[in-house]
Amino acid sequence: MREVELYFGPQHLGMVGNFSITLKVEGDCILEATANPGFLHRGFEKLMEYRTWIQNFPMVCRINVVEPDHMEMVYAMGVEKLANIEVPERAQWIRSVYLELARVGSHLFGLWAYANMLGFDTVAQWSMYHRDLILDLFEELTGGRVYHIYIWPGGVRRDFPEGFTDRMVETLHSIGKCVPDYNDIFFNNPLFYERAHNVGKISQEEAKEWGAVGQVLRATGMPYDIRKVEPYAAYDKVDFDIPTRVEGDAYSRVLVIRDEMIESVHLIFKLLDNMPGGKVFNRSFNPFKWKVPEGEAYVRVESSRGELGLYMVSDGKDKPYRVHFRTPSYTHGLIILEKLLEGANIADVGNTMISLYVVAPEIDR
């Protein structure tokens, strides 16, 4: 049989985001896969050097379209570390609740992408609907549905509105009530098991060697979560589990996502029960006259895809000198994907890619 070069994406019904893979196939079997990122390269890191520290906030959340909140958090943490700003306690708890809500929303988005790719449209529409309810909550809290621009160095931008916690709990309960239906239709469905079992299998040593983080690693049995390794915000004050599985294939990755979602919802309830009062913003800067002291920092958070890190260098002026985001999809999408697709079927390309939860804007920045 001949070798054919196929272009999978960027405009492809099975592709989520603007990402492309060049496949060398022979028949149905892939010989070599090359990832082609770069369709969404906006040059954020260079553009951020031209704006002052505060003006960067509305920009930094646009790097990852699906889940902008962890980007804001990591940038705020970096600036707070360099400039030694203290954050009030209530603000840290609010940040944790906000990030967990973002994690649930982002996982629902991933579920939509995955289920759509496989053809389980009902589950896809349901998870998008439930994500919409969460976006309504965000709209009430911050004023925007997708780009929230809520976390600043020194705290958060506004406090909870009246009655917000009740509405949030109600919405989360209504989502939680549908979990048995999700399980019946999708997660426990033998069809899903057949499609996802043994697809994109990765062992723990290979995962560590190729730089995997997040669910990819947790699905191979290692409980590596930055919220436990290097706690930030209010995560060291509440107790929560890290779900893991041992198989390391697409099936276990998706099940880890489901377990994480449920764990996040429980975590939100625990955080809301114990939240302290007080103010939520320590005013410590004037946008036109703020100089961050010289130094560098590497801060990281656990986003819904894995370890999100930020390397920031400041030379004592009012604009950042170098900003470099370490996004989880970078290694997943550029190395692990290529290695996993060798010897796989064409039908499994989308399956593998989305179960690795590769999001194109994160790779390109």
Binding site: G38, V229, E230, Y298, Y311, R322
Partner: protein
């Protein structure tokens, strides 16, 4: 806390500077030739996750600074490794910058080095494919360098009709 690793490093390598600016960070400044040996040493001691390879353009000092950020995956051997990261920094000249690839030690260094090559112009010897990653063509000055003026680029390219040279297949 990292006293053990600091002591071991200083014992194993002469000629490198080791600081602990914060409780959870060890900073190593080494020369470009020593990078691979230090990386190998750290990988053996349990620091097996290469989080990031970054490049900073110090235009006034006419140097690029390559920064390798390495963290431990698992804190099993708690007596030895506690949480924290290691910064390995090295400086290379800005004119014709060159460095060695870290792929033999950390397999996931490949895309980071490709990106630094494309955006800063640093050549990594031994890298299997230094092709375009994010950008689609070559630029006179690699775009992330400090002397690349973004406004001038926009004016030249988008405010006028550029002449695209014919490519030979």
């Amino acid at each position: 806390m990292n006293k053990k690793i600091v002591a071991e490093l200083e014992l194993a390598f002469k000629d490198i500077e080791v600081n602990t600016p914060q409780d959870t960070r060890v900073e190593i400044c080494a020369r470009e030739e020593q990078i691979l040996t230090v990386l190998g040493f750290l990988a053996n001691k349990g620091y097996d996750h290469l989080a990031l390879i970054s490049c900073v353009d110090w235009i006034e000092e006419e140097e690029f600074e390559l920064v390798y950020i390495i963290t431990p995956y698992l804190q099993e051997n708690k007596a030895y490794i506690e949480k924290g990261d290691v910064f390995l920094k090295t400086r290379i000249a800005r004119e014709n910058p060159e460095a060695r690839t870290a792929i033999p030690i950390f397999a996931n260094a490949e895309p980071y080095e490709r990106e630094i090559h494309e955006l800063f112009g640093v050549k990594f010897s031994g890298h299997p494919r230094l092709t375009h990653l994010l950008l689609e063509r070559d630029y006179e000055i690699p775009p992330f360098r400090k002397d690349f003026d973004t406004r001038k680029y926009v004016k030249d390219v988008f405010d006028s009709i550029p002449v695209i040279p014919e490519e030979e297949e």
